[in-house]
Amino acid sequence: MKIAVCAKQIPDPALEITYNGGNINRPDEQVLDDTDRYGIEVALQLKEKFDAEVTVISMGSLGTEKGIQQALQMGPDGALVLEDDSLSGSNSLMTANVLSELSKKVEADITIFGTESTDGYSGVIPQQVSRMLGVPCISYIKAVDIDESVTLTRQTSTGSEKVVMPSNCVLSVTAGGVEPRYPNFKDIMAAKSKPIERISIADINYDAQQNLEFVDIKDVSTTKQGEKIIDEGEGFQIIIDKLKELKAI
């Protein structure tokens, strides 16, 4: 079994995001999107059971490759990454085109994603890739049960349902379904010697186009001049009075 698993590098979420035109400014040092840790964990559990080969795939400006290292530290065998200046400001379809080609390059049977990235959160790339690859998409997975076969529990709008993992498919994994492992010192050192193959757009079959034109970004953050009261024992009464005033009771 061969598995491709996504790792997106994003600006450290603790820092403020700034934009240049319509694009997020990406510092040289980017970190692994936490959302991808869940997909990587699923890939590693499959690797342990089925002796699968796990390759991290990623697109975007590579910089110091810190995020890629963080992904490899968890346990994948290597990485295939694509950096190309022409891809900056990619729409989801362009990204999906690249990721589906990377999945093909590693001949993946299973390609694993997060459900949505922290910075982009278009939340459609896994489904797009499955359509491009012509394989089923098992989206919004919230639990994984690995036996001789693999049973995936999907989150649905009304509850959940189960699906047996097909031998060839795309998965998207929600946060919280599995517990991502933490690398120890040995894992961190071992990651440094794992192979990272770097390719460019000329090495893949790329035919997506930009159909979205950036118009502008407006700051619409609201900070209200609300009241802030430090509770000195009567706080409950202040809330009750307010609820009465609002006719909520």
Partner: protein, 305 residues
């Protein structure tokens, strides 16, 4: 502009997300039809005012790929240029599949849009709702995922007159279908919503929230942190990856106020927040903020109501 709205059948009716889009489509005077997806026998989803096709799927199959194939035909045959779907699980899968078929990227998290000639100008919320991003789409096919609660729900007389298309396919089998029980007031339509965060300290303390909610006839929500921790089912998560609510009163108990949470509740009419940390970001959007310990204040409110 010829438009297709994708709706779902929820409790035998057309989903609220679709009805919200209908309002906007009517405002803009769009020429639209609706395709509804579901597995129920004879739902009330038809209307005199638009054409409705029902894609009836087996609930035991993962058939959205096959639904997308059929949608593709409808879009081509009727030369539809604008396709709108609510940002739900089903909506996201279908719009993603179609965007590949028509080689035209979708836009997610759309909160408003306008027509400009043959183009569509969209506003979508980014960065946890702190910024609004405006784009123009001029490609022949345009695919938009609309955030819930962006528009008011249209009031329509729904009936059972629609065309049914049975979806049969070789798609993966689905089993052990579990429907979460819905009890008490629902998040989407309650006038009061009380949400809990990690500041309720322990899952057992959620009974305090429950007691208060019963007295106020309020729906209960939560942050992703406590949903991930298993304190509450996902259906009660409020925020970017959960539900969007706009009640008259939103009470946030022990919630830090991460942007991903704010985006799901900041448009509530009145926000009350209780947090022991004076600097918690939730206070920036609260109308009334109490710097207090949830565990001591919540039972006192309930007792004195």
């Amino acid at each position: 502009m010829k438009t297709l709205i994708i709706g779902e059948v929820v409790d035998n009716k057309l989903s609220s997300g679709a009805l919200e889009i209908v309002t906007k489509a009517n405002d803009l005077g769009l020429d639209y039809e609706i395709v509804t997806v579901g597995s129920e026998e004879s739902p009330n989803i038809g209307s005199e005012s638009f054409k409705n096709t029902y894609m009836k799927c087996s609930e035991n199959k993962l058939s959205l790929g096959s639904v997308a194939d059929k949608l593709k035909n409808i879009i081509e045959e009727n030369t539809i240029s604008l396709v709108l779907a609510p940002s739900t699980y089903v909506g996201r899968d279908l719009i993603a599949f179609l965007s590949v078929d028509f080689k035209s990227s979708q836009i997610s998290n759309v909160i408003n849009f306008e027509i400009e000639g043959e183009s569509v100008i969209t506003s979508n919320s980014i960065n946890g709702g702190e910024s609004e991003y405006n784009s123009k789409i001029s490609s022949p096919n345009k695919f938009l995922l609309i955030r819930p609660k962006s528009f008011e729900e249209a009031a329509l007389d729904l009936n059972i007159n629609f065309e049914t298309v049975e979806i049969t396919s070789e798609d993966p089998e689905v089993f052990d279908i579990f429907i979460e029980e819905k009890t008490g007031p629902q998040l989407e339509d309650s006038k009061i919503v009380i949400s809990a965060g990690r500041g309720m300290v322990d899952s057992e303390n959620l009974s305090l929230v429950q007691d208060l909610a019963s007295k106020l006839n309020a729906a209960i929500g939560g942050t992703r942190a406590i949903v991930d921790a298993g304190w509450m089912p996902y259906s009660q998560q409020v925020g970017q990856t959960g539900k969007t609510v706009k009640p008259d009163v939103y009470i946030a108990l022990g919630i830090s106020g991460a942007t991903q949470h704010q985006v799901g509740m900041k448009d509530s009419k009145y926000i009350i927040a209780v947090n022991k940390d004076e600097e918690a970001p939730i206070f920036q959007i609260a109308d009334l903020g109490l710097v207090a310990d949830t565990l001591s204040i919540v039972p006192k409110i309930t007792e004195n109501l």
